[in-house]
């Protein structure tokens, strides 16, 4: 059973979002890392890049697969986690600590489209 953290918000693509003031921190969920298997490569956008909701902002790769990372919301990248790029295995070890990017939120109303932990846990249950 994949781990889900209560206070976070979630996407159908298995990203998690944590909001503090106007900054959203984004990562991939425990369910995602477990489905991918050994993560061996992470590619992230640069600071200042503008992201639209649902657009691809990078990739995570396992030995045999490439998966797009999709931005849950619209905003501007304020920071990327270079540790995740340098040591991709950190995502397998603890997907909720190994955040990927921070975004300055453009439209807080978009956060309402995301799932809460209960809905996400049910969503995972249904897709496994």
């Amino acid at each position: 059973m994949a781990k889900v953290i209560e206070e976070l918000k979630y996407t159908e693509d298995h990203e998690w979002v944590s909001v503090e003031n106007d900054i959203a921190t984004i990562g991939i969920t425990d369910f995602a890392q477990s489905s991918l298997g050994d993560i061996v490569f992470v590619e992230l956008p640069e600071e200042g890049d503008e992201l639209a909701a649902s657009s691809s902002f990078g990739v995570v790769e396992s030995i045999k697969s490439v998966s797009d990372l999709n931005s849950p919301i619209t905003g501007i990248v304020t920071e990327k986690n270079t540790t995740a790029e340098d040591t991709p295995e950190a995502l397998n070890e603890d997907a909720f600590s190994a955040w990927l990017i921070k975004i300055k939120i453009s439209d807080p109303a978009e956060l309402d489209n995301l799932m809460d932990s209960k809905a996400y846990a049910e969503y995972c249950e249904a897709s496994s």
Binding site: G37, D38, E61, I63, K64, V66
Partner: protein, 358 residues
């Protein structure tokens, strides 16, 4: 259409991730792909490759027929040898790559890729009439396990098999039983390691699988198999090899025996000037994948990646690329375009990983 091997339920109960491959529901990986690759390099693993096809050619001219069909030399090979060869059209393009098992001069088995069973059979059958022999597709009668890794022989020797297993040479075969659907053990594989491929009736293979599981042999999926074959530089039909290229474009010149008096494709291959070249690339950073574009230092497109992966053993990106011979100079710097970013690649002529087979 969706076909299942005789071991399908076993794979499901082991928690395998199943994917459709050439109409077959096959295990791509069990628990962990990396551990499966390492098991084969360091110890022993088993693959269910029952989807592959088995043809039997029997009769007075069986040997002549097979020798006429393929580019490699079957006629002069010793009895009990396994011989890898492309199967080509008259124009030299590759229909499939396969292994011929020379059971005797009047009985040969050919193992072909699952995706090409019908195509190969129809092609072979269309050339059969002038030879005094039969060609039968017996793919449905056989299951096939590839048991691979340095501990394969030791592991198989300890099983209860009803026959004695011989420590024979690489690329040679032994007969386990000579029933209507025989048991055939070939010292072959697609991993670069020592190992056996065991062809047999479904019930025998199911019992063998159970014994292997009880002995702690790691079940391995097609994902690990693909990483293993790429690491030792073996081409795959559908990726490096296809109907648009000849053996001379793809590093298989060694399998084309011009000394044979005749074979299908000989004339075309005799005069053929290769247009493309298959090269092996290694990247310090970035993972090359099938379809990515290769450029030279002037940002000119010179080819594409045909297979790529992260190497488990090297922890680096490795790939086969098909490059245009006219655009690619051997000393040239090679760039792989990965999602618009340029990653530098180095060409290697040796296998990425040296397999441990005999």
């Amino acid at each position: 259409m969706s076909l299942k091997t005789s071991l399908f339920e076993e794979h499901v109960s082991l928690g395998a991730k199943i994917v459709e491959f050439a109409d077959w529901q096959m295990p791509i990986q069990y628990k962990n792909l990396k551990e499966e690759v390492i098991a084969v390099r360091d110890s022993v693993g088993v693959f269910d490759v029952s989807h592959m096809g088995e043809f039997f050619i029997e009769g007075k001219q069986a040997l002549d027929f097979v020798d006429h069909l393929v580019t490699n030399d079957i006629k002069n090979a010793e009895i009990s040898k396994a011989i890898y060869s492309p199967l080509c059209r008259e124009d030299g393009t590759i229909i499939d790559d396969l292994i011929v098992y020379k059971i005797s001069n009047e009985k040969l088995m050919i193992c072909v890729n699952a995706s090409n069973i019908k195509k190969d059979f129809d092609w072979m059958n269309s050339h059969l009439s002038s030879f005094d022999c039969t060609l039968i597709n017996r793919s449905d009668d056989f299951s096939l396990l590839a048991i691979q890794g340095p501990k394969t022989f030791e592991t198989l020797s300890q099983l209860d098999l009803n026959f004695q297993i011989e420590d024979n040479d690489y690329y040679s075969i032994q007969i386990g039983s000579d029933d209507k659907t025989p048991i055939l053990l070939a010292r072959t594989g697609y991993t670069g390691e020592d190992g056996f491929e065991v062809f047999g009736p479904h019930e025998f293979i199911k019992a063998l699988w159970k014994q292997l599981m009880d002995a702690g042999v790691k079940p391995c999926g097609l994902g690990a198999r693909d990483v293993l074959r790429l690491e030792v530089g073996y081409p795959l039909y559908g990726n490096e090899l296809d109907e648009t290229v000849t053996p001379l474009d793809t590093g298989l010149k060694w399998t084309v025996k011009m000394s044979k008096p005749s074979f299908i494709g000989k004339q075309a291959l005799q005069d053929y000037q290769a247009k493309t070249q298959s090269i092996k690339l290694i990247l310090d950073k970035g993972i090359p994948r099938e379809g990515y574009v290769i450029e030279n230092s002037q940002a000119q497109e010179i080819g594409t990646i045909t297979s790529g992966t992260m190497s488990v053993c090297l922890k680096k990106g490795i790939a086969f690329a098909r490059v245009d011979k006219n655009l690619y100079g051997p000393e040239e710097e090679i760039i792989v375009n990965i999602r618009g970013k340029k990653y530098s690649a180095t060409r290697t002529k040796k296998p990425f990983v040296a397999g441990g087979h005999k």
